[in-house]
Symmetry: C2
Subunit: 362 residues, 2 copies
């Protein structure tokens, strides 16, 4: 059967002051009325039912994740005892799913990406499920690059492997970590490179087999967890084993080493919405326009100001006078006012607040 695993354990600071430790990006409604996690789960409607949709999060965010996904069975929310990167996270999900459904094919989806339209996303996922039906095969999605990004990993696509749902499939020749500007430009020019989206599809037994081959230490840990499944000591075993699993990305630990890896180029619009600036770029309707995100009411009033992003969860009037291209974000205890070009520098502010011991603001 087809399953979906939404990875929702991230803890970004790039949407400070709105994002906090207990309220990371995937739990925020930054792109619309619902938390991004809820949007991600809703995007599966009609393709993967709730009982086969899984969310992997962590203890700190579990309550928020439950609130964002009220329709999922409670046992489908898995909480990592510690953050160990994506290979253990995916391995845990695959272990739990395979125990319930040995023939499972599972899609792995980051909880905090912007993807549209849903119909194209579902077509791509159907293609992924079809391509991944072959035992042992790992399917990844690549984003057609639009600029020489240095912030993403790249995938070099090789020999054609036919088509699924009208989407051509290619064997993966290589994974490349985030490149420098020169290599990024070369890869963009090559025409055969795609951005690594972090979206995967595979049979649960395919990924577990690849983990056994390429990450035996992880496989051993997962085996202990599998042995405790359904038992009274499951939580205790997970707490003991999980924090010691190798903290490695699945790309590095498994994908780069595996033999039968296939890439599908995504036919949908995609953004990882990595900053306020990127959120503005995603939401603005015409060049220089304003973007006002007031999910609970509120308004932006401008006087000789263009290109403003205004954001507040609480109903609020935000007035901007005589300033172009600024970001204004209001939360109950903090306000961010930034040049849009510089909004990535919130991380510097967050670092300073951390250094000053302002845990209340983190």
């Amino acid at each position: 059967m087809q399953h979906a695993v939404v990875m929702a354990g991230g803890s970004g600071t790039r949407f400070w002051p709105e994002s906090r430790r207990r309220r990371p990006k995937q739990l925020l409604p930054i792109t619309g009325g619902r938390p991004m996690l809820a949007e991600t789960v809703a995007r599966l409607d009609g393709l993967v039912p709730a009982e086969r949709t899984w969310v992997v999060t962590n203890a700190e965010q579990l309550a928020g994740a439950r609130e964002a996904c009220p329709d999922l069975p409670a046992e489908n929310l898995l909480a990592e005892p510690a953050a160990r990167n994506t290979a253990p996270c995916i391995g845990l999900a695959a272990t739990v799913i395979a125990a319930r459904d040995p023939e499972a094919v599972m899609a792995v989806l980051p909880a905090d990406h912007l993807v549209k339209p849903t119909a194209e996303f579902q077509r791509a996922l159907r293609a992924g499920f079809a391509a991944a039906a072959t035992p042992g095969r790992l399917v990844t999605f690549g984003i057609p690059p639009t600029y020489p990004a240095t912030g993403y990993g790249y995938i070099r696509s090789g020999a054609a492997m036919g088509e699924f749902e009208g989407i051509p499939a290619h064997r993966v020749d290589a994974f490349t970590e985030k490149p420098d500007a020169e290599r990024a430009a070369a890869m963009l020019a090559s025409g055969d490179h795609l951005w690594n989206s972090g979206i995967f599809v595979w049979r649960a037994d395919s990924i577990l087999g690849a983990i056994a081959r390429h990450m035996p230490e992880l496989a051993a840990g997962l085996e202990r967890i599998r042995g405790a499944l359904g038992g009274d000591d499951f939580a205790a075993v997970l707490d003991e084993v999980y924090p010691n699993l190798p903290a490695v990305p699945v790309d590095v630990g498994v994908m780069e080493k595996a033999d039968d890896v296939v890439v599908l180029a995504t036919p949908f619009h995609w953004s990882d919405v990595g900053s306020w600036r990127s959120l503005y770029d995603e939401l603005v309707e015409e060049a220089g326009g304003d973007v006002a995100v007031f999910p609970n009411g509120g308004e932006l009033v401008t006087e000789d100001a263009r290109g403003v992003l205004a954001y507040s969860q609480e109903p609020q009037t935000i007035a901007v006078i005589g300033l172009d291209d600024v970001v204004v974000v209001r939360t109950p205890d903090a306000i961010l006012v930034a040049s849009r070009e510089r909004s990535e520098d919130v991380k510097k502010v967050v670092e300073r607040l951390r250094a000053a011991g302002r845990e209340d603001l983190l």
Copy 2:
């Protein structure tokens, strides 16, 4: 005896969103920990006692004024039934004071000006009381101009009239309304013009005599009010008479026409703090510095930003990134973010909110 009358009925919108109809500038602690009205009353400490300090405000602001001046006798707060400019306001105060103290000399002080240091202010006021002791004389204070302001009225000083407390007094030759730029430059260059401060000192019977001579209609109304003083129908008479008094500034209705008018040049630092920009100018300690006004706690965090004015009554962290010379003001329901040079344009925002029927924000 010496009295002081603080005029606190103004309703400015220039400090929106902090200033509102019921919370005008004089009731805001914009220059420090206390409302400007409270600062103005405190500036009289040791010179004029509470029982001879009077505040004229209006019904809408009466509660706020009481709160700002807890040490004044309740009956010393007079509420205008309607805003009728300064001549009726001063006439009302003089009428009430003269009835209690026929020999009263009264200083008239706007509630929302920044004045420092207090010692020099008190020296000037002592000089005013001395100069105004002569029956029939009206004393006004002039601010030595520092630039060709078009936003103030001017006073031309004439013949020397001796010194009071070391401050030279001059006969007033003329009052000039707010000039255009050319006339302002000429008056600044003349060396014998001062800005009209709106601060006056006179015997109560002197100003009432001048009103009787130059504003007989006002005098007749004040006479009706005087007749009702101490009676059960005082409030009813005030409500009936006051709204029909001529709405004229005392400068225009009385000062320009009176014979014995004397001006003292102020020896203190003065600002009418007419905008967020002006507040920044008053509070900044070095060129390009930041000004953070958080009377109840809070902090400004800047990252590559200079010349910021941050203001919030509620404890708050305000972070500004990559923007110079901006004003950020937070209130519970509205935020202002403005280029400092353009902060006067809040009035345009207020006009638009009024046109949109947003009484909740006014």
